[in-house]
């Protein structure tokens, strides 16, 4: 069949003739008409040839043209057009990854995310469904308003109002409702096939402890990314990766008839475990808050609790404080007053309350810095425990006269005494012995000139003199902590190195991060940056600092049952006359674990309390340490003297003879006084079983009526412990002392009392008062 091939077909075209050309079959064209035959033959050949050409054009040419065009569209432009197709045919819904949870050291939740649903309606679509005559709505507006008002607990009227806005597509009915409520709304939508009521899911960040450690945790903004604190610092770890659901839709936004969807699972954020402990933080904040209430500092306060053995931060507080769940609301009394007086705007107040004064701001540390000078001088053998220094009340360096806090001077002192006295001239002499270069080297070795390296953003760097311009006068001032600035956090890290054996650690907050399945992704590596001073030097520093609290300016920082070391600080803020008062303490003094630095910027001068760290900060530090040390598992060990003041249970002596009762009470260390003149004890105050301070006086009633009238609490503030005792015994109340334990010192006075004077209480009630040594000058 050669005619099947095109070439054969072409040849055939030129030879073939139709039947209706003169062939024997067609009578109409007799074969004898030769000329005409030839014409017809030619015409037929034309038809054949042209048919063949047409065959090639249509059967081959057109096919090739169309194929080329299809190839260009389907292969060359495939990707471009495919993406156009996907973008119009699919709807993608973002599945939010849940943000990681932040836990404290004991597993308490500090920050957690939960999803909440917002219920909204589209009046436009509701209207559309109501008007649809083909598929009439199974609900009425009244029904809808009634049911929704019941579920969402909002008025029917407000729902009606929103439904009337028929041009609108989006009217919110209820923000962030609980899951069970959302479920009930969904049920209603499904049951009545309502088109126009929708729920959208979004996430919310909760801070269960409100204002606890707010500056450490920080908060997230409306876009759900961290703005401050750890929320910002660990943004990448916490946020996770959003997932996606892609569904096919038709041009009317309905899902396509056949289901086509793809789900990209979200990666949830990492959970963080902090070194910070909510309980420690609570006591730290409580103490600082009380201190601020008492002294109304103009520029707030800051406090850090550090574990000196690895740099873990157990607590970190800054004042003014704020509630993380309402981070824009200003609640601080001082800031509100400043806004009221129009000294600052609300925005400025917000920025102030968000500042973490532990590390965002630097300050002149004052005398707490003497620990560094002491450690450096000891390490360089410039001084030792036998060194003596004379203080005349001032010293002259490069024609400048520098005064000591005690104008009359400390006279001749041993090294330890000079630390206890916080004597400026003595420390200037130690600094001068070190020399400018060596001293400057130690500033760097202690890491004071950089940042601490803590895992929180916004760390400020201190201001220091240039090494080439570091003069003798500079050195003199630096020796007692003036004329340069550091952050409280940077300072406490250096101070920790002074007492922990000499090791400088980077302070840290996050001990571990885990993925949502609990796998540990990160664990803090607590290796020291360097050893700055020797173990021996460190031991000597500890000894000196314990002396400060035992007998020096840090007396008010004593904690009954614990060996505490510390150092007070009262630093001038330039020439303004304002001061920053501070107190650093650590315990146990012989084997330090916990260190705390509290600073207060510009306390009020009108509280009657001598403005110094030893008088203003140390008593509150003592109270905080008294709470957190037992909590952290440090057992108190009381001295004999302290033991006498320890709370003891009152024995019941009712029915006994006076002598018998006397013996039972004195045996337990109680004093007593009698009322009435009988032989047997008929009643007693306090009653048996009550727990009261050990040396208290028990009142015994001998055939006498126990008075039922209430007693008035007297004002004890400013009295000596002995005076307070007498007044209290006469009023029928019992006394418990806290604070400075050396009650024998003549300069100890009642600093504050827990129950306000004038309060009516039952006889035998224990009133706790805090003692403080008023002689402290730093």
């Amino acid at each position: 069949m050669s005619s099947c091939s095109l070439l054969g077909l072409y040849k055939w075209c030129n030879t073939t003739v139709f039947d209706d050309f003169g062939g024997s079959a067609v009578a109409a064209f007799p074969s004898q008409h030769n000329r005409k035959d030839e014409n017809i033959r030619r015409a037929n050949r034309v038809i054949q040839r042209r048919t063949f050409i047409l065959m090639l054009i249509m059967g081959v040419g057109m096919f090739l043209v169309l194929f080329a065009k299809l190839f260009s569209l389907q292969i060359l432009r495939h990707e471009e057009l495919q993406s156009e197709a996907v973008s119009q045919q699919t709807r993608s819904t973002v599945v939010t990854a849940s943000r990681g949870t932040i836990y404290d050291a004991s597993g308490n939740i500090l920050a957690i995310s939960s999803t909440a649903e917002t219920v909204f309606l589209s009046p436009l679509e509701l209207e559309k469904q109501l008007k649809d005559t083909e598929k009439p709505a199974k609900w009425t507006k009244a029904q809808l308003a009634e049911t929704l008002s019941e579920i969402l607990e909002i008025s029917e009227e407000s729902i009606y109002k929103k439904m009337e806005r028929t041009f609108s597509q989006y009217e919110v009915l209820a923000f962030r409702v609980e899951e069970d409520i959302a479920d009930r709304v969904r049920e209603f939508i499904n049951e009545f096939d309502v088109q126009g009521i929708y729920l959208s899911t979004d996430a919310k960040r909760y801070y269960p402890y409100s204002d606890l450690a707010s500056h450490v945790i920080g908060f997230v903004g409306t876009d759900y990314t961290g703005l401050y604190g750890l929320e910002a610092q660990y943004e990448e770890n916490l946020q996770g990766k959003s997932g996606l659901v892609v569904t096919a839709k038709d041009n009317l936004e309905n899902d396509m008839l056949f289901q086509y969807s793809q789900y990209f699972e979200p990666e949830h954020g990492e959970n963080l475990d902090l070194t910070l402990d909510a309980t420690v933080q609570y006591y730290l904040q409580k103490g600082i808050e009380e201190m601020c209430d008492a002294f109304s500092p103009a520029n707030g306060a800051a406090g850090v609790v550090l574990r000196v053995t690895d740099g873990a931060i157990l607590g970190m507080a800054s004042y003014p404080n704020y509630d993380l769940n309402a981070f824009s609301t200003v609640t601080d009394k001082t800031l509100l007053e400043q806004i009221e007086r129009e000294e600052i705007t609300e925005a400025e107040a917000q920025l102030k309350q968000w500042r973490n004064k532990c590390l965002n701001d630097t300050y002149e540390p004052g005398s707490t810095f003497k620990i560094i000078t002491l450690a450096s001088a000891l390490e360089e053998n410039a001084v030792d425990l036998n060194t003596t220094a004379y203080c005349s009340g001032h010293t002259v360096i490069s024609d400048y006269t520098i005064h000591c806090s005690q104008k009359e001077g400390h006279g001749q002192q041993t090294l330890m005494q000079s630390v206890g006295n916080s004597c400026n001239p003595a420390f200037i002499s130690y600094g001068l012995k070190l020399g400018t270069d060596t001293f400057y080297d130690y500033l760097q070795s202690f890491g004071l000139m950089g940042t601490s390296g803590v895992d929180l953003g916004g760390e400020a760097t201190g201001v220091f003199a240039d090494p080439n311009a570091f003069t003798q006068l500079d050195l003199a001032c630096y020796s007692f902590g003036q004329n340069f600035t550091v952050t409280p956090l940077n300072l406490i890290a250096a101070q920790a190195a002074c007492v922990n054996g000499g090791y400088l650690y980077e302070p840290y907050l996050v001990s571990e991060s885990r993925d949502s399945d609990g796998n540990v992704l990160y664990r803090h590596d607590a290796t020291p940056v360097r050893q700055v001073i020797s173990e021996e030097t460190s031991a000597t520093v500890r000894e000196c600092l314990e002396y400060v609290v035992e007998s020096g300016t840090g007396k008010n920082g004593q904690v009954a049952g614990y060996r505490v070391g510390g150092k007070t600080g009262t630093a001038d803020k330039g020439q303004t006359g304002d001061v920053v008062v501070s107190f650093l303490c650590f315990a146990p003094a012989d084997d330090p674990e916990i260190m705390m630095l509290i600073t207060m910027d510009t306390p009020s001068r009108s509280t009657g309390v001598y403005v110094s760290g030893g008088n203003m900060v140390a008593p509150y530090s003592s109270a905080i340490m008294a709470e957190i040390l037992p909590y952290l598992g440090f057992e108190p060990s009381y001295s004999a003297e302290e033991l006498l003041g320890i709370d003891t249970t009152v024995p019941s002596v009712i029915g006994m003879s006076l002598d018998e009762a006397k013996a039972r009470l004195t045996e337990r260390g109680f004093a007593f006084r009698t009322v009435g003149d009988g032989e047997t004890v008929t009643d007693q105050t306090p009653v048996g079983g009550a727990i009261i301070p050990g040396k208290s006086t028990v009142v015994l009633y001998l055939d006498a009526e126990k008075p039922t009238t209430l007693c008035t609490v007297p004002n004890l503030v400013g009295m000596t412990p002995a005076e307070a005792n007498t007044v209290m015994a006469n009023s029928g109340l019992l006394l418990r002392f806290t604070g400075t334990t050396g009650t024998e010192s003549g300069t100890v006075r009642v600093f504050s009392q827990e129950t306000e004077h004038g309060t009516q209480v039952e006889a035998g009630t224990v009133i706790t008062v805090r003692l403080g040594d008023t002689a402290v000058r730093d």
Partner: protein, 381 residues
């Protein structure tokens, strides 16, 4: 031996041609179902609505085709003139206000809306093919003269074109004039005239586009601009083209799979009619679309083979007319949906929804089959 040829209707039908035609009818039906089920579902609630109607016409059409094939095509000669007159009458009827049925600003249909409608232009196409085949085959060498070979046919085509442009029905006009012109050319027009005709059409088309681009002519400007770049107005004037290109392009080499196209979900307009080939490309990819075009090409090649082997000039010209009509329509349809030429509404034979068109198409195939039955046995030597 010669006597054998005389016995009209005794030979057997050309089997390859028949099978290719049936194959296209089958594939066409299948693709129509795939393309039409979403809109059928949305509009009528029954996914198979359009498919069922089309299937009935296909079955009827095949019967018509087989019956036509059984008849001797010489019997069409006496029908040629009456059919031409009748179709012109129908074309006149349709433009009388109130008689024709108007859809989308065009009055192209006769009948009872919603029950049975047809386009007189479809009948006109068949009438032109039969009349031209009959007339040209009788003229033989006289086709070379301008007065006899050109004028009468140009008048007939001109009358029809004017009537159809009044509907308006540009695509139908192009098809009828194109088919007629091809038949005239094959029938023996002088070569210079063919050259002048082809050159003239090309020049006019090029000139028109150039004048539109230059902003001198505003008529059809939107059509030309959208042809250049439909994305200029992808939400309105260019929407259909953009959707078609997206469908074709997203199909890629292998396509989304039969039935799995997404553009037919109310994105692509006319997805069951003029733009059904876009759905084919999206679902079957370049591979499937090329195979289908190949089947069309084979049908055309076999058709022209029958034309070349036909017993007489009338048979040859009949088949050439049918194949030219089919080829033109396939080419223009695919060229439109792929953006090769500016958009006009031309349906794809065997695929597009439309019962009358399918039945008439199968009737035309029947004519070719009838011609094929009288192919004389191969002359030896």
């Amino acid at each position: 031996m010669a006597r054998k040829h005389y016995l009209a209707g005794k030979g057997s039908m050309d089997l390859p041609f028949l099978l290719l035609a049936l194959l296209l009818t089958g594939i066409g039906l299948m693709m129509l179902f795939s393309a039409s089920f979403p809109s059928a579902y949305y509009e009528t609630g029954s996914a198979g609505y359009y498919f069922k109607r089309q299937a009935i016409f296909a079955a009827g059409g095949i019967v018509v085709m087989l019956i036509t094939a059984k008849f001797n095509y010489q019997g069409l000669r006496p029908l040629a003139k009456p059919l031409l007159v009748f179709s012109i009458f129908l074309l006149l009827l349709v433009i009388i206000p109130g008689v024709g049925i108007t859809k989308n600003n065009a009055t192209r249909w006769l009948g009872i809306d919603g029950v049975f409608t047809f386009q007189p232009s479809e009948i006109a196409k068949v009438a032109i093919i039969i009349y031209f085949a009959d007339s040209i085959s009788k003229k033989k060498e006289r086709m070379a003269s301008f007065r006899e070979g050109v004028v009468p046919y140009a008048v007939v085509l001109g009358v029809m074109a004017i009537l159809m442009l009044l509907e308006p029905h540009l695509s139908g006009t192009i098809l009828i004039v194109g088919t007629g012109a091809i038949m005239m050319a094959v029938g023996g027009l002088p070569a210079w005239l063919i050259g002048a005709g082809v050159g003239g059409v090309a020049l006019v088309a090029w000139g028109f586009v150039a004048l539109v681009d230059a902003g001198i002519i505003s008529y059809g400007a939107s059509r030309i601009n959208m042809w250049h770049d439909p994305w200029l107005d992808s939400s309105d004037d260019g929407y259909q083209m953009v959707q078609s290109l997206i469908a074709i392009g997203s199909g890629g080499l292998l396509g989304n799979g039969l039935g799995k196209g997404r553009q037919k979900f109310l994105y692509l307009p006319e997805e069951s009619n003029d733009f059904i080939f876009s759905v084919v490309c999206e679902e079957l990819g370049l591979l499937g679309a090329t195979l289908i075009l190949l089947v069309f090409a084979l049908l055309l090649l076999r058709g022209f083979w029958i034309a070349l082997h036909a017993r007489d000039r009338f048979g040859t010209l009949l088949v050439v007319g049918v194949m030219a009509h089919l080829g033109l329509q396939v080419f223009l349809n695919v060229a439109v949906v792929t953006g090769l030429v500016p958009a006009t509404g031309i349906s794809l034979p065997f695929f597009s929804y439309g019962g009358t068109a399918l039945a008439l198409q199968l009737f035309e195939i029947g004519i070719v089959l009838s011609v094929s039955r009288q192919i004389p046995a191969r002359r030896e030597g």
